[in-house]
């Protein structure tokens, strides 16, 4: 660790002490070139990944999936079935890896924990008044503690977009810090809800804010607003985690969520990760996909590669 990095790190850790310092820092971040970011993201989507590389990419993508169900209609039976699928996505093929995590509402955590106990699949739960985040802080923290107590080892929190957009960065920062504390040993993923942040500059600022406050992951979306994860937004976030590690030495993960439905999309994201932040992030500990229907498409493509024939949705579970 060089002297500059160390001093930069201590400087950054001071930022959370004052609203002015935070604002000065976040607004001092270089602006995002919108056209450039979109073009770069589009360009990275044109790579052709075939045969063995594709097989590896598919297996990696399966390991990175946060198999998610966040419906009002979720029942204990449904989430148990989902957890069973997470352990063994393709029952016909034992060589198929398990997914990264299962992601459910806090009330469903105990049912999933029962199934996942003893396995390497993580249990993520959304908390902090997901998806709007519009609730008093005590309620958000109680929500978080309850999820952790019930067995979740990853917490997906939503930031207070109302406060962020109004420029009350300190409030957002403090909420993340408090939630991180409430998490204890559990990993904290911070959902920026980029579809509501309006600009890439805001995405960059929110990413930095989340990382400064101690988030272990930055996540794009809740999946509950029309605009979910996009390539350019994820690119901006990847650049932020790259720059953050360069400045502080701490690595933060990225999780695009919502709208990623096909293997082709997933592979585009993996290419972007490799080209933007490098292979250090090509691991389920540092990059995840928040998805549900993506898994079936990955499994169908995997079956095509192993058997040579195209499979159909009739042969995989509905979830």
């Amino acid at each position: 660790m060089t002297a500059t990095t160390t001093s930069a790190r201590s400087e950054l850790s001071e930022l959370g002490r004052s609203e002015t310092a935070l604002r000065t820092f976040l607004h001092g971040l270089p602006g995002v070139d919108q056209v450039g970011a979109e073009q770069r993201a589009a360009q990275l989507g044109t790579r052709s990944i075939k045969t063995t590389a594709k097989a590896q990419a598919i297996d990696l993508a399966i390991r990175m999936v946060d198999l998610t169900t966040l419906e009002g209609a979720d029942t204990p039976g449904k989430v148990r079935a989902l957890a069973a699928k997470a352990l063994r996505p393709d029952p016909a093929d034992p060589s198929c890896p398990h997914v990264g995590a299962v992601c459910v509402y806090p009330a469903m955590v105990p049912h999933v924990a029962e199934v996942l106990r003893g396995s390497a699949v993580h249990l993520a739960s959304v908390a902090t008044a997901f998806p709007s985040g519009q609730a008093p802080l005590e309620i958000k923290l109680a929500d978080t503690r309850a999820a952790v107590a019930a067995g979740a080892d990853e917490i997906d929190m939503v930031i207070n977009r109302g406060a962020f957009l109004a420029g009350r960065y300190q409030e957002v920062y403090d909420e993340i810090v408090a939630t991180k504390e409430a998490c204890g040993d559990a990993h904290l993923k911070v959902i920026l809800e980029t579809g509501e942040l309006a600009t890439y500059d805001n995405v960059r600022r929110a990413s930095w804010l989340a990382m400064l406050a101690g988030g272990d992951f930055v996540k794009t979306s809740t999946g509950k607003v029309p605009v979910a994860a996009t390539m350019p937004v994820t690119l901006v976030m990847l650049e932020a985690v790259r720059d953050f590690r360069a400045a502080t030495g701490r690595q933060v993960g990225v999780k695009p969520a919502g709208g990623i439905k096909t293997t082709k999309d997933a592979i585009k994201y993996l290419v972007m990760v490799n080209e933007t932040v490098g292979p250090d992030w090509l691991d389920p500990d540092w990059f995840r996909f928040g998805a549900s229907s993506l898994l079936n498409d990955l499994l169908m493509q995997r079956t095509k590669l192993t058997t040579g024939t195209y499979s159909g949705p009739d042969y995989f579970t509905l979830d």
């Binding site: 024939t309 499979s311 159909g312």
Partner: protein, 274 residues
């Protein structure tokens, strides 16, 4: 004033109601035109489009399907000259229109003729109703290019199936022009998908595809290929229509077998009141 430059036509595939080029970018020269040479990925995309269309098309009322098929016949009639210009004899175009209308009429009759009440020994109404099987892959006969094509597409879709058709490789222009007819007939996108190119490339993909429910091998002339395709189709128990004999008369009455082979029967037991 300078002389007008003719607009040259590109013959493309018909997938999901759109006219894309082959994803492989390939084309081949046939009938003095460049025609897309479909790859196995195009076949896969066509199956995805066909599968997506099943729910809406099979769920439409039989009357509605019949009306849409009549509309297609009207459009076909209106483009008679265009087909004749492609070298298709006028009487074949007429026969194709008639064939289309004939099948359109069956839309709301097939369930009456092939469904019905079964006498059972118990206090039940027992009713059988024919239902479409789903996605049907079709290898169209090489010729007659238009009448043959109409005679394999119409019986499959009239009952609510959706099709992926491998068109005649030697005379594909009629198929692409028929796609233009269908695209302007209120037929929902994806109900008919047409691939031009080599049968040896597209048919095996379709035959082995697990999301295809039936395959019509009418246009397969090579006996070894036909056997191979049938073996592939057995993997998920596809219904199979065997190749037509070489001397098949396409102008003769088609019978009902093409429709009924692509149907499944649903039987319902309903308790009778006392």
């Amino acid at each position: 004033m300078s002389e007008r430059v003719a607009v040259r036509k590109t013959y493309k595939l018909f997938i999901g109601g759109k006219f894309p080029r082959s994803e492989s970018g390939r084309s081949y020269l046939v009938q003095s035109s460049n025609v897309s040479l479909a790859s196995r990925k195009d076949a896969r995309d066509a199956v995805v489009a066909a599968r997506a269309a099943v729910k809406g098309w099979a769920g439409a009322t039989a009357y509605n399907r019949g009306q849409i098929l009549y509309r297609a016949a009207e459009m076909l009639e209106g483009r008679r000259e265009q087909f004749v210009a492609l070298g298709i004899p006028g009487d074949e175009v007429d026969a194709a229109v008639d064939r289309w209308v004939w099948y359109a009429g069956w839309a709301d009759k097939i369930a009456q003729v092939y469904g019905g009440a079964n006498p059972v020994a118990g206090p039940y109404f027992n009713l059988s109703a024919p239902e479409p099987t789903g996605v049907v892959a079709v290898v169209a006969p090489e010729r007659p290019a238009l009448l043959g094509l109409v005679s394999v597409i119409a019986p499959a879709i009239v009952s609510g199936n959706t099709v992926v058709v491998a068109a005649s490789p030697t005379e594909p222009l009629a198929a692409v022009t028929l796609a233009e007819v269908l695209a302007t007939s209120d037929l929902p996108g994806g109900v008919v998908n047409i691939l031009t190119g080599a049968i040896t490339e597209t048919a095996p993909t379709l035959a082995s595809h697990l999301d295809v429910n039936a395959i019509d091998l009418t246009g397969v002339t090579d006996a070894t290929l036909a056997t191979d395709l049938e073996v592939k189709a057995a993997e998920n128990l596809k219904r199979v229509l065997r190749p037509a004999p070489g001397d098949h008369d396409w102008f003769a009455g088609p019978g009902l077998a093409r429709m009924t082979t692509l149907l499944e029967t649903k039987t319902v037991w309903h308790p009778k009141g006392v």
